[in-house]
Amino acid sequence: MANSFLKKKSFLFTVVGIHLIFVCFGATQLRPWGRWEKISAVLDYYGTLSGANSGYGFFAPRVGSQLQAVFEITDSSGKSQTVSLTDGLNREASLRVRKLIDWYWNDENNKNLQRSLAASWAGKMFARYPSSASVTVRLETYHLPSMGEYKEGKRPHWRPIYRAKFERQIKRKVNKEG
């Protein structure tokens, strides 16, 4: 009885100990097993499914800037309106949509990805506004002065970093007989 309890206790301590070591590695974003390819796949998978590989650097080490996507919707008559992906959303949904926009920054050197993201957002806007003929995507970053600069009179402003116009392709019916 005592022997089986000791075995169970040792097993539990080992499992819990290994898991908490994983948590420590996740928190520090270290992956010392990275050089062992086969084992690292298994360990990484465990880290992902348990959440043990999570980092906790929220707002750390710095609070960055903000990116916003503005869409200029123009219909066939030339009438245009400016909208955003977050219009009319509640706070929780809006935060997530803004996270999607932040993906533009995730790989700044990957121009293909950036263009694909802009095209994807424009596609969404074409679906939301069926009468639109074109969608212009404008990305802007928020320039916030420091507290000292603000006191001296500098004010925050949006600075454009990207602009692309997407036009709706109208599928024409090919008249084979003609």
């Binding site: 206790k9 928190a27 959440g51 609070v63 929780e92 928020y142």
Partner: protein, 336 residues
């Protein structure tokens, strides 16, 4: 003599670990974690329900192939679920609603504590699938929800405050498993806060007050006009330093009884401040739930379903181990 001293020290250390990790505890804090976490995640699900297709759908904000390119191909996503369900004539949009619906149902079962273990597994699984699919839109709340849901699978969270406990009429007898579960959660939270605090402290923004200034002024988080802070920069600096003290100090001051209440109060205050001033309500609620249930609920209390004539608490520890705990002169809840 030296050898005997070493043996004595080793025995005391082992006893300490046994007492710390295995001294019988009530499952009440874990049950409260289950209930409160379910309530917050149900609220989140309701907030996101109207945007399900935009966030997860193939014609959403991140469309079809791009979404697949950005997702990890080794993790289960709605696309992989749909590959299976498509054999039954179910299309992708139906898969999304089905998965989200099952996730919501699992959360309700988890809240009620009905078939708790199965509900924990399904909640964790569906949350993981949805979280992997929408990982481009994830933020801190999803990380902590995923961690907590994974723990709920193994923890005795249905032993009390649940329909399972009500139907079985078994008392919430203190157990070593409940104590071990609680300790894992507590240690994990300490690691998370410590890592977060240290990483913040490594940047100059958290020393000169700029981090709070920026967080309060960025349109994504800004809830009030806080521009007046520029004239009182010492307040921003104070806010940053207080955050560092609370987060780094969490791993130390949450343990001793004398400082525990103060640290719970400071941590909850920090998160309520984040909810109020940065508008991160769901994230803050999840963090409050974790700290409150891990450290704010006594593991000594009896379950509300426990009968008045219930037997005295029984331990899973064998007699010899229990004697060694008693001999160490430390009782479970006077330890810290």
């Amino acid at each position: 003599m030296n050898h005997r001293f070493r043996n004595l020290a080793a025995n005391r250390l082992i006893s300490f670990f046994e007492l710390f990790f295995l001294a019988p505890a009530s499952a009440r804090p874990l049950a409260i974690l289950r209930v409160l976490l379910s309530v917050v995640l149900i609220m989140q699900a309701l907030f996101l329900s109207s945007q399900l297709m935009d966030l997860l759908g193939p014609m959403g904000i991140i469309q079809g192939p791009l979404s697949q390119y950005l997702n990890d191909p080794n993790l289960p996503t709605l696309s992989s679920v749909n590959r299976i369900l498509s054999h039954f004539g179910i299309v992708e949009s139906q898969t999304i609603f089905l998965t989200a619906g099952l996730y919501f149902l699992s959360l309700l079962l988890l809240l009620a504590g009905y078939q708790t273990r199965a509900a924990s597994v399904s909640t964790w699984l569906f949350h993981w699938i949805l979280f992997n699919t929408g990982h481009c839109a994830k933020y801190g709340v999803d990380t902590f929800a995923h961690i907590a849901l994974f723990y709920l699978i193994f923890m005795p969270v249905g032993k009390t405050l649940s329909l399972d406990a009500f139907f079985s009429q078994k008392p919430d007898a203190p157990s070593a498993m409940a104590r071990l579960s609680l300790r894992v959660l507590q240690v994990h939270l300490c690691i998370a806060y410590l890592a977060s605090g240290i990483e913040k402290a490594s940047g100059p923004q958290w020393w000169n007050g700029d981090a709070i200034w920026r967080a309060l002024m960025l349109p994504i988080y800004s809830q009030f006009d806080m521009s007046w802070l520029a004239s009182y920069s010492f307040l921003a600096k104070l806010g940053c330093w207080t955050t560092l003290v609370v987060e780094i100090g969490y791993a130390i001051f949450i343990w001793p009884r004398k400082t525990r209440k103060l640290w719970i109060f400071l941590t909850l205050g920090l998160h309520l401040g984040i909810a109020l001033f940065l508008g991160l309500e769901i994230f803050s609620l999840v963090m409050c739930v974790l700290t409150f249930s891990a450290f704010g609920v006594s593991a000594k209390e009896n379950s509300c379903f426990q009968k008045a004539s219930s037997p005295p608490p029984t331990s899973n520890l064998p007699k010899s181990a229990s004697i060694s705990l008693v001999n160490s002169g430390l009782a479970s809840d006077t330890l810290l």
